[in-house]
């Protein structure tokens, strides 16, 4: 009876997760959706507390308090611009937890015979299942996926936060090493599965197999993410998100727990969808992204050499202010540079100012602008830009032709016209925002340096392009002051 009730509660929790995710389909209901999902989680936790007799309450409470405090402090303190790395870090913790739970499930069988028997009487529900090959497969999958998620997420965390270089890290033999580590992991998994029937009487193959697998999985996570450049991080973060769900689902198989399986499947699906959207937005296959080596900042020498013989029209702040202030329609295209300069508030201020003057202002958001899916939207929301002024690429691309000014703020590859026709360009075929069709393109940029893809952007040399060099935030402040004085 009690178990049925708890299982029913898990079912309710799973339903709340699905319903919560469904409400994320509109910004109006999204907040409530997230709260519903959190309620589902609370229900699942409370139900679990009644599952069995609590033997070690202190560890349990301490774990909840420590984890809860760390999570709450991080969630409240972190700047919106640091959101990508925070999401990556949380993701890593989820993966770690899944792997550890699966490992603990194996360790449970190692309890000395006498206390094990006493426990069996105490906890019939969790002692019954014999350890077999199928069980072993679920355990090794959970450990593998969980720990790859963990170390991979923290490498992504380091790259996104600038603690390690955002450029692809590639050394000779990297691919071979990755392959060998993956093969080693497979062998370790085989050991565990083969030794499952004799376990726990003969414990060594399983125990050491899992230890070896854990080590290899951690290394594998690092090797898989370091060769991937900063601009491809939206894909990596989405994929790791999917992995963390799969790890939870695998742990659900280990524990025979429906709540974990359903939630894990939902998150796995969500991550895969985002991954696919990101890859399509860059016109590259997932494999191509994962193999890495794409992008990184090109040597300054190359950029300078290529720039020779082309003219750049540099605009003064005064020119730019007049362009904007007397336009009928301005489309703002934010990119990663806006996030780096933390200029989202100034962007909004400028937009407000223009709107007061009767200028129509819209925002065009490329799907892979920034370092995670929807990055720009969150930053602009923080600056109080109404979400209905933000337009997706397909919605707004035809409007550039009718715009007087396309204001590009720290975006680069996503507005490079070479993607349309230059078959030699690494970004050939990537859907871009058609800013070059606007009457004038005003680009706020630090320098002519290429973006993360390391590609020269010919947009900067077009006759209708004006460049305003400098830090995005400072340039915007100057622009705002200038327009106020007009």
């Amino acid at each position: 009876m009690k178990t049925t009730l708890i299982d029913l509660t898990y079912l309710v929790a799973a339903a709340l997760f699905i319903f919560g995710l469904k409400q994320l389909q509109s910004p109006k209901t999204a907040r409530r959706g997230n709260q519903l999902a959190a309620l589902g989680m609370l229900l699942a936790v409370v139900a679990t507390l009644f599952l069995h007799k609590i033997i070690t309450p202190i560890e349990m409470i301490a774990g909840l308090v420590i984890g809860g405090t760390i999570g709450a402090v991080l969630a409240r303190r972190v700047e919106m611009t640091a959101m990508p790395e925070l999401v990556a870090a949380f993701n890593g913790f989820g993966g770690l937890a899944s792997a550890l739970v699966a490992t603990a499930e194996v360790a449970r069988y190692l309890i000395p015979e006498s206390s094990g028997l006493a426990l069996a009487a105490l906890l019939p529900a969790i002692e019954q299942v014999p350890f077999d090959a199928v069980q072993a497969i679920t355990v090794v999958l959970s450990v593998l996926i969980g720990l790859v998620t963990f170390s991979g997420s923290f490498v992504a965390f380091g790259k996104l936060g600038g603690y390690i270089t955002g450029n692809p890290v590639i050394f000779p033999g990297l691919r071979l090493l990755t392959l060998l580590v993956a093969l080693g992991g497979l062998v370790a998994m085989g050991f565990v599965v083969a030794g499952a029937d004799a376990f726990p009487t003969v414990a060594d193959p399983v125990v050491w197999g899992i230890v070896a697998l854990a080590g290899l999985a951690l290394v594998l996570g690092v090797l898989l993410v370091i060769p991937i450049g900063g601009a491809d991080m939206p894909v990596v973060v989405s994929l790791l998100n999917s992995y963390s769900g799969l790890a939870a689902a695998a742990t659900g198989f280990v524990l025979d727990n429906t709540a974990l399986i359903v939630s894990g499947a939902l998150v796995g699906a969500s991550g895969l969808i985002l991954t696919r959207i990101m890859c399509e937005a860059m016109n590259r296959s997932l494999l191509n992204v994962l193999l890495g080596g794409f992008g990184g900042e090109a040597g300054d020498g190359a950029a300078v050499a290529a720039a020779e013989g082309k003219t750049v029209h540099e605009a003064t702040v005064e020119d730019a202010a007049i362009l904007l202030a007397y336009a009928n329609k301005v489309i703002i295209v934010p990119g990663y540079g806006m996030a780096v300069a933390q200029a989202q508030h100034q962007v909004r201020e400028l937009a407000d100012l223009l709107q007061e003057r009767g200028v129509e202002v819209k925002y065009a958001i490329h799907p892979v602008a920034g370092r995670m899916p929807g990055h720009m939207n969150v930053l602009l929301a923080e600056a109080n830009v109404p979400y209905d002024q933000l337009y997706e690429m397909d919605e707004i691309n035809d409007e550039f032709a009718t715009a007087d000014v396309a204001l590009v703020i720290g975006a680069n590859d996503v507005v490079n016209p070479a993607a349309r026709y230059d078959k030699n360009s690494p970004i050939y075929g990537m859907p871009i925002l058609n800013v070059d069709q606007a009457k004038t393109v005003l680009v706020l940029k630090r320098s002519l340096r290429p973006g993360y893809s390391g590609i020269e952007n010919e947009l900067f040399y077009l006759p209708n392009t004006r460049m305003l060099f400098g830090d995005a935030k400072e340039s915007l402040i100057k622009l705002i002051n200038e327009i106020k004085n007009l």
Binding site: G63, G67, N241, P373, N384
Partner: protein
């Protein structure tokens, strides 16, 4: 096992159905929210940390519980923090609404 596999596959289909319709604007909250949901492992962590006994299990469970709780609490809170910032136009600049709407209609037609 087979039952669980069926549940997994069906849940994945539901996930694809529901999540495909989430707009680009909400992709970051979607990611951090679903991320928090993957912290459901907390359920397993609670069991091994507090209900199983055995030194190894207990400590593995303890670390798992901390990690999972960070994931769950942090994930839901940060998603909430983000979502409360998403506001529609009506709430901020009512004077502007009519004008831009007309403009939108004009460009659409």
């Amino acid at each position: 096992m087979l039952d669980n596999l069926i549940i997994f596959v069906l849940a994945a289909f539901v996930g694809f159905e529901v999540i495909s319709k989430v707009p680009q604007t909400l992709h970051t909250p979607l990611m951090s929210g679903s991320n928090a949901i993957s912290g459901i492992t907390i359920v397993g962590a609670l069991v091994v940390a507090g209900m199983v006994g055995g030194t190894w299990s207990k400590w593995l469970g303890f670390v798992a519980l901390i990690a999972a709780t960070i994931n769950v609490v942090g994930g839901f809170l940060v998603t909430d923090r983000m979502l409360q910032m998403f506001k529609a136009r009506e709430q901020r600049a009512p004077a502007r609404t009519e004008q831009t709407k007309t403009a939108e209609v004009a460009t659409a037609s």
